[in-house]
Symmetry: C2
Subunit: 350 residues, 2 copies
DNA sequence: ATGAAAGCGCTAACAA
DNA sequence: TTGTTAGCGCTTTCAT
């Protein structure tokens, strides 16, 4: 039971060279059956395991991906994080997590730390990146991809849902339901997802001769959402919206609560509420939230795909913006227009 | 803008030795002001940053903590993960995340991978560990601490809430509220948290001359919780419980939904429901869940403290089981006994 | 306080 | 297919 077994000890015991052992542990190597057997035996007897760090140093590839996440309060992100981590593990990579929350210094500091770790790639979940850090990545040859954010920076791949299509779909659905006083509770102005959803939402409204009836900003927080709801809805009935599109599900739950419990309004009879994300909790019967699904599985798969492509064949990989379309999931929080296509059968009740 | 600047180039440019540069970048080092200035200038001009990997190799300390998490669906874990990661970052460490979900192979495989990464320590969140892997950690000198799980393995520090006190408090609260048919919806039988909560809960019931009126297992999943609820409550009124203690909040939400929407029961008028964890969503007005708070902040702080103590002073550190007491948070899902101490003032409404 | 030199454990030419 | 030989970029004695 040695404390640490090195490749050298295995080589010695197996009666072969150090390189032979190294080759044995390298997937696409060339070792004779005989050598392989000897090495395997020796390694097992000694309980040898290759040192990942040393391997990374020597090869220049750490098989570690820096994963920056801003905030795990919104249930969409834990879900994404779990899937992301799983997908990476399946490809032989691991996620080194960096929280970019306000407490942990700004994003540039965090990025510097990540780069110090010699990661093979970076995934930025819901985080925007400065253009000089971006160029620092390029010059160091570290690929980065944005998850659920876009940015007009040269050479950055981004994966999002089709936010414009989503925003438009919500507008059309709400208008088809006969709503004529449609409001929007936005998230944080700086978020590209937010911007795109709202832009398309308003455009669709205007294309139909309507316009946004009211608007407030919820900051993607529960407190913010509650305040925004009161701001918009705590007014005389004749100035009250009959529908609201909330920038994400996380806020939408609180919006519904305030509507029902503080303002005494019925959802969807008095107000239709539509969210965005389709987080697992949207199915909860007390909310039964109508929402646009962000297909986390697909988004994650594309993110990992794009990143590994850049890592493994940097020449051919092209930066692009991948947009994943997702359906509007009809549940009980918004009035369903007569004759509207039926609800998704896969949406099991609990 | 070189692709990679090494310590050697800095040394050369500064006109000092490699070691001088190394010392400059080592917190508690001894460098003269003059040398420091030269090194700093050279480093800045070259855009030099120490290579964390190389440093880890040479020093034998990676400043990386392996963090194993099983499942991020239950909102308690994202919260804990965020805080854990932040706390580590603050101390100069980072979390390398390993998902131990069913898809990712068993825990032993995962542990082996972690160990391969030369981590300085390991945190197992909600995961049990085999005793031979545990001993492998010891022999490699890698400290590990269990978060929200205990295990009777020599030398393992564990941090949990005071599950026994919590279980007892719920029983006493429910009995004081006049409930005489108290049920329990358990999680997964293998979880130590579950076991402790239930044991103390039953003991308190029995100490007062009652006994568990009904019991079912929800497996810590939403589907399981729904099924368990129907099993216990979808019976003639005279055999129906008047209160239920659910093993965690995550399941409790679904329990309430099934009670209300499928079985037409009122909460808390017909059935009182109490959860465990006090996840952020417990405040949501549609549930307003009475629950035992697990003080994630404190648990995290203790976990990190215990782990770093083991890392930084292995001699003096003693394995122990740290139990964090948490209050019962009174909200609306359970009948409050007359004269019961007032509700926590810090529990702001949304 | 500083520099020289010996590794840390492994990979990757290169030669055989 | 195998072994030899340089490193990878840094820390850390040990002299000076």
């Amino acid at each position: 039971m040695n404390e640490k077994v090195t490749i050298l000890q295995v080589a010695e015991r197996a009666g072969v060279s150090q390189s032979a052992v190294s080759r044995f542990f390298t997937p696409g190597a060339s070792v004779s059956k005989k050598t392989a057997a000897k090495v395997q035996a020796a390694a097992e007897e000694l309980g040898y395991r290759p040192n990942v760090l040393a391997r990374a140093m020597a090869s220049g590839r750490s098989r570690i991906i820096g994963l920056v996440v801003a905030y795990l309060g919104n249930p969409f992100y834990p879900e994404a994080l779990e899937k992301l981590s799983n997908a990476l593990q399946k490809r032989g990579y691991h996620a080194l997590v960096f929280m970019a929350s306000r407490t942990a210094g700004n994003i540039d500091t965090v990025m510097q730390e990540i780069l110090d770790h010699q990661v093979d790639g970076i995934i930025l979940a819901s985080v925007a990146m400065s253009s000089d850090i971006s160029s620092r990545c390029r010059q160091l040859g570290v690929p980065a991809v944005l998850f659920n954010r876009t940015q007009d920076i040269e050479g950055l791949t981004a994966v999002t849902s089709d936010n414009r299509a989503g925003g438009r779909a919500v507008a059309e659905f709400l208008m088809a339901g006969g709503h004529r006083r449609i409001a929007h509770i936005a998230g944080w102005e700086g978020a590209s997802t937010q911007r795109d959803r709202e832009a398309a939402f308003r455009a669709a409204l205007e294309a139909a001769g309507q316009s946004l009836f009211a608007r407030a900003c919820g900051q993607f927080t529960l407190e913010g959402a509650a305040a925004a709801t009161r701001e918009i809805f705590d007014v005389p009935a004749e100035r009250r919206p009959d529908a609201v599109f909330v920038a994400n599900d996380y806020m939408a739950f609180t919006v519904i609560d305030v509507l029902r419990h503080d303002l005494g309004l019925r959802v969807p009879e008095d107000v239709s509420v539509v969210g965005y994300d389709d987080v697992p909790q949207a199915r909860l019967r007390s909310y039964s939230l109508t929402t646009v699904r962000q297909r986390a599985n697909v988004m994650v798969a594309e993110t990992v795909e794009a990143l590994l492509e850049q890592i493994e064949s940097p020449e051919t990989a092209q930066p692009r913006h991948i947009q994943i379309k997702g359906p509007l999931i009809l549940r009980g929080s918004a009035r369903i227009p007569a004759g509207w296509p039926q609800k998704d059968k896969t949406d099991v009740r609990l």
